[in-house]
């Protein structure tokens, strides 16, 4: 079955769901076909995926030094 073409704008609207694999198989196929043809959308996809990969390792917000000790103390001080 032929894949129905999709516009760049439609691709951007779904790019986040595409990364999260929260789209229908049909939409996925249409988008994959689009990425093969459109360097711009492919760049947006790769860049966005990189962002998600970069921030997702839990190191972005380092707790201030002594954070856990101070929190523990607070809890100890509970009535």
């Amino acid at each position: 079955m032929a894949i129905i073409e999709i516009s760049c704008l439609e691709v951007w609207r779904e790019i986040s769901n595409f990364l999260d694999e929260e789209i229908s198989t049909e939409m996925r196929e249409r988008m994959e076909a689009h990425f093969k043809e459109c360097a711009h959308c492919k760049a947006v996809l790769d860049g966005t995926r990189n962002v998600v990969g970069l921030v997702g390792d839990g190191k972005l917000f380092q707790m201030p030094e002594g954070f856990n000790k101070r929190l523990y103390k607070k809890i100890q001080g509970l009535p």
Binding site: C8, L9, W12, R13, I15, S16, N17, L19, D20, E22, C38, A39, H40, K42, A43, V44, D46, G47, T48, N50, V51, V52, G53, L54, V55, G56, D57, G58, K59, L60, F61, M63, P64, F67, N68, R70, L71, Y72, K74, I75, L78
Partner: protein
């Protein structure tokens, strides 16, 4: 039993014993989520000192309300919900003396976002993240997002929570989480792409691509 439900069962036990008076167990209960509490707080209040105070307040509040926790939701979701509300309250207080509106100006969520025109990124080596300037750039990019996008981005992508959990914590629909996450991710990519291009690698510069 999968590890998740095992953890959940352990927590239910812990909570029961804390409610029965075994207070010392409370730190054991919250300790695994310290970082999440802190990150949730800082996603709203932005600065580390405020975030720490919010985190402490939230944890103390969780303790005093522990008997009202219902085990049908995850303890972490409940704790982060308290944290988020505490952070919002603090933000309101901090801004109450200002003339500006309490929340960030609400960007229109219906308008489409047009991603900037950068060519492809090479895969980013994870060592890159060890570099302070890179982490700082990402923090700055995160801080430059409007509040409603930053909150969703930090919960979903930084803390890897599910759409459902994020919706519960923020008190918004799952659809709204998805729309805001899309915008946040595209904006983050737009902000960070030039850095990956120019400063973080000594590679060849990115080419612009404009297919139409």
């Amino acid at each position: 039993m999968p590890p998740h439900s095992q953890l959940h069962a352990n927590e239910v036990e812990l909570i029961k014993s804390i409610c029965d008076g075994e207070r010392e167990a409370f730190y054991e209960l919250v300790q695994p989520y310290e970082r999440m509490v802190y990150a949730t707080a800082i996603s709203v209040v932005k600065n580390p000192a405020d975030a720490e105070e919010v985190a402490q307040e939230a944890v103390l509040k969780a303790f005093s309300n522990l008997s009202s926790f219902r085990a049908e939701s995850k303890f972490s979701t409940w704790l982060l919900q308290i944290t988020y509300n505490e952070a919002k309250m603090r933000l309101r207080k901090a801004r109450s003396h200002l003339y500006e509106s309490i929340d960030d100006p609400q960007p229109s969520e219906d308008a489409d976002y047009w991603p900037k025109d950068f060519a492809d990124w090479r895969p980013i080596p994870s060592e890159l993240f060890e570099r302070d300037e890179v982490r700082l750039a990402i923090q700055n990019a995160t801080n430059s997002l409007s509040g409603i996008y930053r909150e969703v981005f930090v919960l979903r992508d930084v803390q890897n929570l599910s759409t459902k959990e994020t919706a519960t914590i923020l008190g918004i629909s799952e659809g709204a989480v998805k729309i805001r996450l899309l915008r946040a991710r595209l904006q983050m990519r737009d902000t960070l792409a030039p850095g990956i291009d120019g400063c973080w690698f000594n590679g060849q510069p990115y080419q612009k691509v404009r297919p139409w």
